[in-house]
């Protein structure tokens, strides 16, 4: 009797781990299959004008040199883009970067260069971001997005409360 009791003591209490391991494996399989890993993201800063662009009273700032970049959909292919820099048509992103650099250097010193980016209503957002990115690559920091050119009648409802709407 004494010998049998000693053997039991050595063995200890036997815990059946199988159900727990089963559950944990099921959880792992669930997380692996159902989970989606986050993609690394970046961000491009572009501030909205503090004085809203629709305001008619704003005087052009003499200390600032403005470059206007307009993104337009291609004439034949709506997926395509034409960038207009001060009304000059450009078709490649590298040309856009070079043009922005050229204008920035020829604008003279003493003036802050401000880039205004605008786009056609139907142009892909992708191309507007490309213009923003090109301006950043050209070393231009002060980038402002122009107010929309879409008629107020086509704006989503309800209409904004605090924006002084221009008369159509």
């Amino acid at each position: 009797m004494a010998r049998r009791a000693k053997v039991h003591e050595e063995e200890g209490i036997a815990l059946d781990m199988t159900p727990m391991i089963d559950c944990i494996f099921l959880l792992i399989v669930f997380f692996i299959t159902a989970g989606k890993f986050k993609r690394a993201e970046s961000r491009l800063d572009a501030y909205l004008p503090k004085d809203i662009g629709i305001d008619q009273r704003a005087e052009p700032d003499p200390d600032k040199f403005f470059i206007s970049v307009f993104c337009r959909t291609g004439a034949t292919n709506p997926r395509d883009v034409i960038w207009l820099v001060n009304n000059q048509e450009l078709f490649k992103r590298s040309d856009l970067v070079n043009k922005l650099k050229e204008i920035a250097t020829s604008s003279g010193t003493g003036k802050k260069i401000k880039v205004s980016i605008d786009g056609d209503a139907n142009v892909c957002f992708f191309w507007v971001i490309s213009a923003l990115d090109a301006a950043a690559e050209a070393g231009l920091i002060e980038i402002v997005l122009a107010p929309p050119r879409i008629p107020v009648s086509q704006w989503p409802k309800p209409l904004p409360k605090n924006i002084p709407l221009a008369k159509q």
Partner: protein, 200 residues
């Protein structure tokens, strides 16, 4: 002899502790990194590429607006195929789809407690909200819908705007295949001629 019989009855003892440790580590890792609930960054969106964007750091307090184009039938367009018939956009904030009016209210409520600076004459000297807003627009979303999101930001006196982008380096990775980033419609990838044009 008696001892030998006892050993046979007991079998070979396998120490399960390390395997359980590793499994628990795996479990904790997967629970931490996977996205169970809907977070502010909607992972269905395919963002535009940018080379000069600032890497995203740990987010501080901010508002994230996701903008999807919406097709004629009202379905969201996750694919990279440009649908020129996009009639509207769907805006999601913190995993919830909002109407434009709801977005207006949401921005108003969030802006109440945020830090403010004084605005210019053009806005009637009203206070501007310093809370940053990140707009995440789908790559093929018509620009007007992103502009609408911006209109409501202006409306509610937000001015610190940034746009969500993917890193351009991802494009050069060998792992980038034709169906990269677009599980819904692999064949409709933004095709190489446009991308070549971008990287010229």
């Amino acid at each position: 002899m008696r001892r030998a019989k006892l050993q046979i009855e007991e079998g070979i003892a396998i120490d399960m502790t390390p395997i359980i440790d590793i499994i628990f580590q795996l479990l904790i890792f997967l629970m931490c990194v996977t996205e169970i609930t809907k977070t502010e960054n909607d992972q269905r969106l395919v963002l535009p590429y940018a080379s000069k964007a600032t890497p995203e750091t740990e987010p501080t307090e901010r508002v994230v607006i996701n903008v999807f184009p919406k097709g004629k039938s009202g379905m969201l367009l996750y694919s990279l195929m440009l649908d020129t018939g996009a009639r509207d956009a769907s805006v999601t904030v913190e995993g919830n789809a909002l109407t434009w009016g709801d977005l207006q209210k949401y921005l108003e409520i969030r802006g109440r407690s945020a830090k403010k600076t004084s605005g210019g004459v053009g806005v009637g000297n009203r206070e501007l909200v310093d809370l940053p807003v990140k707009i995440r627009g789908h790559r093929t979303c018509p620009f007007q819908y992103v502009q609408f999101a911006m209109i409501y930001c202006i409306d509610m006196s937000y001015w610190k705007i940034s746009f969500g982008t993917f890193n351009i380096d991802d494009f050069h990775l060998p792992a980038v295949t034709e169906d990269y980033g677009d599980q819904m419609n692999a064949g409709d990838l933004w095709n190489p001629p446009e991308l070549n044009k971008l990287f010229q």
